[in-house]
């Protein structure tokens, strides 16, 4: 699994779980900012998306929020979190 595999699935999750318009998620680049300086996702959005990621990729995140919130900066950092947690990265 690579970032190119993960990112489209993340975009689909953002449309479905965060109720974002498909045009908005489709237009996101890997480095587009997702949090308050960019798309504007807040902590509740991130939790919802995290639940979706756990479900979609069969993962479990039990560490405190502050350790995984930073990964929501962009689709690129988010896909790194997924790949790392799945053991696909060094």
């Amino acid at each position: 699994m690579t970032q190119e595999d993960v990112i489209p699935r993340l975009k689909k999750l953002m449309t479905e779980r965060l109720r974002l318009a498909p045009e908005r998620t489709d237009s996101l680049e890997p480095d587009s900012l997702l949090l308050k300086d960019g798309l504007g996702l807040d902590s509740l959005d991130c939790i919802e998306l995290l639940l979706g990621i756990e479900d979609e990729f069969e993962l479990e995140f039990n560490e405190e929020q502050e350790s995984w919130m930073e990964s929501f900066t962009s689709l690129a950092t988010l896909s790194q979190l997924v790949l790392y947690t799945k053991g696909e990265l060094e």
Partner: protein
């Protein structure tokens, strides 16, 4: 004890009795015994299956206590609130005709949802059980208030305020307002929540539950611990209480209610709504922060709440200028009942001259610049104390109580 002395005004609001159901058991005596010895009542929940969820730790009223409350009343929440009200009314010694015109405000978030969940599961799977349908009649939080009105034949103005974790603190502020304005002379104010599967699942889904008993104000805190219980206070105008020779436990000196209008669950970093609620309470009580000897904090143990609350307390009191502790560290977060249960804890502390501790506080957070009374109760006869509730959705309520010795 402070030199504060003033005279009661006829419409000052006083507390004349209290009743509690808590994870320590039934009654104020059991409640104070647990609080004043700093005994943490949190542990694995057994009321419903918890498999598959990250955290299963919380507070639960023990099965023997629940059984002793009888099964005449359908919902667990209604059993709790009736028992708490019975204790309070018994100790207040109110005549039936006085009760008839009393007001009631009982806050709560979940109502009889525990029993409604049990109806819904088979319904969802297409096998509705008509014998469980009665749960729908006690599902709404309003049924708690109705249960008290029916049991005690009360016909005064009543309401069921829902402000998430601040519900029953708002109930106390409400009854105080209605007495002060002359709408009523007497009121029952309190709250109740029973554990529900939805509450347990939801806080797990939000990743807000500690896997261990919660550790408010700790550097390594990881979240809250859900819990359940009920508390009811009898409030009266001073004139009414004095005329019937009632024992005055404390004066509700002031209260503040303010909204953040910020986010569905997160508090703003500047804690602006919490600050306004505390400042309004102080203004209405005609007291300064210096005159406050103790703050019973909202203190849930989540990273965000405790940080935001510390900011608010520092803004109002200045760093280190008041003793603080979290009852939730001992009994967990009792949701809609928390405001009233923690008000009772504050009142019992005022009476006894002993401040309950913050349990599990092994490594205090250096960003919380207050003595949070770690582990061991503290003997300290304070004259005035504040109890805060800062609920989901930016609902902030602050209550201030004065010891009777501060009145002539």
């Amino acid at each position: 004890m402070s030199p504060l002395r003033s005279r009661y005004a006829a419409r000052d609001v006083v507390v004349t009795a209290m009743g509690v159901i808590s994870p320590y058991g039934q009654g104020c005596d059991a409640y104070w015994e647990g609080l004043s010895t700093g005994r943490c009542a949190l542990g694995p929940l057994t009321l419903f299956p918890t498999d598959g969820f990250p955290s299963n730790v919380g507070g639960q009223v023990d099965a023997d206590t629940v059984r002793s409350l009888g099964s005449a009343v359908r919902s667990r929440a209604n059993r709790f609130v009736i028992a708490a009200a019975e204790e309070a009314i018994h100790h207040a010694g109110l005549a039936p005709e006085t009760l008839r015109d009393a007001a009631i405000s009982i806050g709560g978030a979940g109502g009889g949802m525990l029993e409604a969940e049990a109806w819904y599961a088979p319904y969802y799977h297409g096998r509705e059980n008509p014998r469980l349908r009665g749960a729908l009649r006690t599902m709404l939080p309003a049924s708690q208030t109705e249960a008290l009105a029916v049991r005690f034949r009360i016909e005064g103005p009543r309401e069921t305020p829902i402000l998430a974790c601040s519900s029953s603190a708002a109930a106390i502020a409400t009854i105080t307002d209605w007495i002060a304005s002359g709408r009523v002379d007497v009121g029952l104010a309190g709250g109740v929540d029973s554990l529900t599967r939805i509450c347990f699942m939801g806080f797990n889904a939000l990743k807000l539950l500690d896997k261990r008993p919660c550790r408010p104000f700790s550097q390594d805190r990881q979240g809250m611990s859900i819990s359940e219980g009920a508390a009811v206070l009898v409030l009266e105008s001073h004139a009414h209480a004095a005329a019937r020779g009632a024992r005055i436990r404390a004066c509700v000196a002031g209260s503040g209610i303010a909204s953040d209008a910020f986010h569905p669950i997160a508090p703003p970093a500047n804690a602006e709504g919490a600050v306004r609620a505390m400042q309004e309470a102080l203004t209405r009580a005609d007291l300064t922060p210096r005159e406050m000897g103790y703050v019973n904090a909202h203190g849930t143990g989540t990273i965000q709440n405790d940080r935001s609350e510390a900011v608010a307390l520092e803004q109002v009191f200045g760093a280190g200028n008041v003793l603080v502790s979290s009852t939730k560290s001992l009994i967990g977060h009792t949701m809609g009942a928390a405001g009233a249960m923690e008000a009772v804890a504050t009142l019992l502390a005022l009476e006894a001259g002993v401040l309950p501790p913050t349990a599990n506080l092994d490594v205090p957070d250096p960003e919380v610049p207050f003595d949070c009374i770690a582990h061991t109760p503290r003997s300290n006869a304070v004259a005035c104390a504040m109890s805060n509730s800062f609920g989901f959705g930016g609902q902030n309520v602050s209550l201030i109580f004065r010891h009777p010795c501060t009145f002539e």
